[in-house]
């Protein structure tokens, strides 16, 4: 009992417990403390429900007949799996899914490899203006995407890649400032002697990068990979700009098309919106649970190094 009190007291949820109260009144039954703990648990559970319930509701809506989307209980009276097959029949869902997989894999692989190369250069080599260059890398992180969006569109258009999937990932071949910054932090953590040892053994810098640096920073590389996988999978701006033919759509753009016109034969089908929402989201939730550690560590690391 005492240790539990200690822990909650130390955690500093405001108003959880007055430590003086423990000293002043070591009563076996502490009403105020109990009220606070109940309040604390109620808040915790309440917020958890707020964050999770919409997902459950969406899944439920996706399995209901259209008319019942907004009515009826959480558990549909009759579960309509047909909603899913209906959407697959109506839209090229498989093609969209495949496009999304292709784009996000290409985007994640290319940005991980290129950013790792560049970040390694900033740690391994000593060359003139190194810090100035790195300062430029950091400065470009602040640049709003809207400023460069139009010329980038014109460039890909000029290269003849509008209405293809290429512009959705190929920019990632050229590394990304945020990931260069993140990976540089991790490369800095490797003892310099390891690089020197490889050098003495006659390894080229490329070899040192591949055989010494990369294996030691695997967790950071996975962080970059899953971050970009998520970013590319969820992106809607680039697909909106570059894609025209329905066959080229990614899943999010496909869902946007369904949102734009959810009627079939003049009847609105909200349940199909829900099906689309579930299908776009579920792969991300699966990836998140598989790589949860990396997601959360990545955010915490970049957050705490950001100050």
């Amino acid at each position: 009992m005492a240790t539990r009190e200690e822990r909650i007291g130390r955690s500093f949820v405001p108003g959880v417990r007055h430590p003086e109260a423990v000293a002043a009144a070591p009563a076996p039954f502490d009403v105020r403390g109990l009220v606070r703990r109940v309040l604390f648990i109620a808040l915790l559970v309440g917020f958890t429900v707020l964050f999770i319930y919409p997902f459950i509701w969406l899944v439920s809506a996706s399995l209901k007949p259209g008319r019942e989307v907004f009515s009826g209980g959480l558990i549909p009276e009759t579960i309509r799996w047909e909603n899913y097959s209906e959407l697959f029949n109506q839209q090229p869902m498989l093609q969209w899914t495949w496009n999304s997989i292709l784009v996000s894999m290409a985007a994640a692989v290319s940005v991980t490899v290129s950013s790792a190369l560049v970040a390694f250069a900033f740690v391994f080599f000593r060359f003139p203006y190194r810090n100035v260059l790195f300062g430029i890398v950091l400065a470009t992180m602040m640049l709003p995407g809207a400023v460069t969006m139009i010329p980038q569109y014109l460039i890909w258009d000029f290269l003849g890649w509008r209405n293809t999937l290429v512009p959705l990932w190929a920019g990632n071949l050229f590394a990304s400032p945020f990931y260069i910054f993140l990976l540089r932090q991790f490369f800095l953590g490797i003892p310099r002697e390891l690089f020197d040892a490889a050098n003495v053994d006659g390894a080229s810098p490329l070899r040192t990068w591949w055989s010494v640096a990369l294996p030691l920073t695997m967790p950071a590389l996975i962080v970059v990979f899953v971050f970009e996988l998520k970013a590319a999978w969820t992106d809607i701006v680039k697909p909106l700009i570059f894609l025209e033919d329905i066959e080229q759509f990614t899943l999010p753009l496909g869902l946007k098309a369904i949102v734009d016109n959810p009627s079939i034969g003049g009847e609105l089908h909200f349940e199909l919106l829900a099906v689309g929402g579930v299908l776009v989201t579920v792969p991300m939730i699966v990836i998140f649970f598989l790589a949860q550690r990396y997601f959360l560590e990545g955010i915490a690391t970049t957050g705490s190094t950001g100050r």
Partner: protein, 317 residues
């Protein structure tokens, strides 16, 4: 200096030794993806977009004449620029303080859980953040629906007013704030990590000195995590000034039966910029809008950094 033994025997006459030159070549090779990308996809486009902002470039004809400052002059007269700036400001002023305070509250809640359960709750809080923006917009079209959406059903059950979140100009932006607060998980994760790094001894010391929970919050917790608070303040501000995907999904594009009120009440700055560039094909004008956004973001961030010098405590200073 490279540790290459050749360095020792380097030609003293040449400015750079052979080893140094080799190092430089290798460095350039490793840096080349970023250098090429920076020139082609960042620096070049910045200059190009600055040039475009002085033209009336139309991508269909491929024609653009130099028109001087006309685009910028036009922005002053364009009622929709003022409107979209107002909408963006309204949203940011509500969203940024709410996201930081609520995020801090939730992070402290997590911190109070302790032990292995904290991780599970953190996961629950973070889950909305992995949801694609289009799916968030779609989900909230259903949640905010009037009169039958999830939110209004809940409000009706509590005997509270049920506004028309998607059609009433006075409520559209509030609904968008609620939607964006649903994905507050990133802020929570950052602040939670910062809270866990506060040394327990500080709390012990404060407690010995007789500090109550509020005093400990004000005098220990907040100063110790002020760096993280400042960080989320800056990134949430920059993000809210550029709000686009969720709102565009809900109110724009080729939506049939889109809410007419959304056309003006949900017209955020980047949404208007995007429409100009890719729907109205006024790319010169859109570039000028982009540069105004750039200036606004830089000014606000600069101002926040100036303020931070007074409020942020850095260890070791």
């Amino acid at each position: 200096m490279s540790s290459d033994t050749a360095a020792g025997r380097a030609d003293k006459v040449s400015r750079w030794s052979a080893a140094e030159r080799r190092t430089l070549l290798w460095a350039l090779l490793f840096l080349s993806p970023w250098i090429v990308g920076f020139v082609i996809f960042t620096a070049g486009p910045m200059l190009w977009s600055l040039w475009l902002s002085f033209t009336d470039y139309n991508p269909l004809s491929g024609q653009g004449d130099f028109i001087g400052l006309d685009n910028y002059a036009r922005m002053l007269e364009d009622r929709r620029v003022g409107l979209s700036l107002w909408n963006t400001l309204y949203f940011s002023v509500l969203y940024v303080p709410l996201s930081v305070t609520l995020g801090l509250g939730l992070a402290m809640l997590l911190n109070g859980v302790g032990g292995r359960f904290a991780g599970s709750f953190r996961t629950a809080f973070y889950l909305p953040n992995v949801t694609p923006a289009v799916a968030v917009g779609t989900l909230f079209l259903l949640i905010l629906n009037n009169p039958n959406g999830l939110l209004n059903q809940a409000l009706a059950a509590l005997r509270l007013p049920t506004p028309s979140w998607l059609n009433d100009p006075d409520w559209i932006k509030n609904g968008i704030v609620l939607m964006m607060l649903w994905s507050i998980g990133g802020t929570v994760v950052i602040l939670f990590a910062a809270l866990r790094n506060v040394p327990a001894e500080l709390y012990e010391a404060a407690r010995v000195d007789g500090a109550g929970p509020i005093q400990r919050l004000l005098n220990v917790t907040l100063p110790m995590i002020s760096g993280a608070i400042f960080f989320v303040l800056v990134i949430n501000t920059v993000a809210s000034l550029q709000l686009f995907s969720e709102v565009y999904t809900m109110f724009f594009g080729q939506r049939t039966g889109a809410s007419a009120a959304g056309e003006s009440s949900a017209l955020f700055y980047v949404v208007y910029l995007f429409r100009n560039a890719f729907e109205f094909l006024r790319m010169g004008y859109a570039s000028a809008l982009g540069w105004l956004l750039f200036v606004i973001v830089v000014l606000i961030t600069f101002f926040q950094f100036r303020l931070s010098k007074r409020f942020v405590y850095y260890e070791g200073e």
